[in-house]
Symmetry: C2
Amino acid sequence: MKLYTYFRSSAAYRVRIALNLKGLPWEAVAVHLARGEQRAPGYRSIHPAGLVPTLDDNGLLLTQSLAIVEYLDETHPQPPLLPADPAGRARVRAIAQSIACEIHPINNLRVLNYLTGEMGLTETQKLTWYRHWVDTGLAAVEAQLAGHPATGRFCHGDTPGLADACLVPQIYNAQRFDCQLDHVPTVMRIVEACEALPAFQAAAPGVQADAE
Amino acid sequence: MKLYTYFRSSAAYRVRIALNLKGLPWEAVAVHLARGEQRAPGYRSIHPAGLVPTLDDNGLLLTQSLAIVEYLDETHPQPPLLPADPAGRARVRAIAQSIACEIHPINNLRVLNYLTGEMGLTETQKLTWYRHWVDTGLAAVEAQLAGHPATGRFCHGDTPGLADACLVPQIYNAQRFDCQLDHVPTVMRIVEACEALPAFQAAAPGVQADAE
């Protein structure tokens, strides 16, 4: 499998974690977002909208990180990244989507660039924006996790899965923007447990071949 | 089943469509977002983050619209809202997420309110923002659909499913903000096919009990 990736992309980072948790061999093809490589004709022929990641599974091109992780879970069931019961699956997906649909889209690179470009906001306003959505979004995730009987060492029980694969990249990005994280102790405790695992360590932005 | 809903919420609208496609009986509990009812203690005890929808399935509280639809598909498999094959499932989820993770989050009510409130943008700037993300986001969805062999009368084949349940509410909202839609003919052709079905008609904002 070939993963079109950018070291700092949260969405690509999620898929890197999932591939590593599954123990699947994969090859990275770097698409440098900050240099605009996602808009070059070469990558546009892979992903017309110019987003990362794209997973190439033997010629089948897959997009959208959560859809890719579900695909990996269906085609390579062991170890599972979603629980077996519908209620548990719904809980894990809801936590993942609280990050992937409520926090990350509002704060990704193209949105931030549009705010300071076309919308004329200052860098300070951009940081206020970023931290506001991380702050409220992670508080919502903390509420999903803290005190819930299904929360274990990881987001759902004692094995890492889809929700953890979304949580760790979001915290990496929050820390890069110096967000305050004291209000989400359960989140931080789980992230620490994840970061002790080789699958997460090998997916981290800093150790990717395209890292700067 | 009890659905906490707001007539204009895209996310609630998706779940209404799914419930209707499944032919499941459900009761609506209105949460008036524009009046701030989602922040009242009563709803906060149902959904701490104060988002709609929440589905109450016999006491099990489910959040995040795509997770709810997947739950419905797992617990009430007929008619299926996702195809049977992993590649098809990945495609339908990717289309759904192109809407639910790339367009809608950037343009929902609380984000628009934050732009004109804390960020101090004008109403005109807000509309420019809204239309920009709808325009580029729907172009990406059109690229996923147009000319793809799996696209049929609906987003994937000739039966409506998860992707269609996301597409119709997004177009409803785009039309409400007078977005230009000439560049997405496949999208519009599919939306028209959906809107001919009773399941979609009964889920439309205008016919909900809380409609204004």
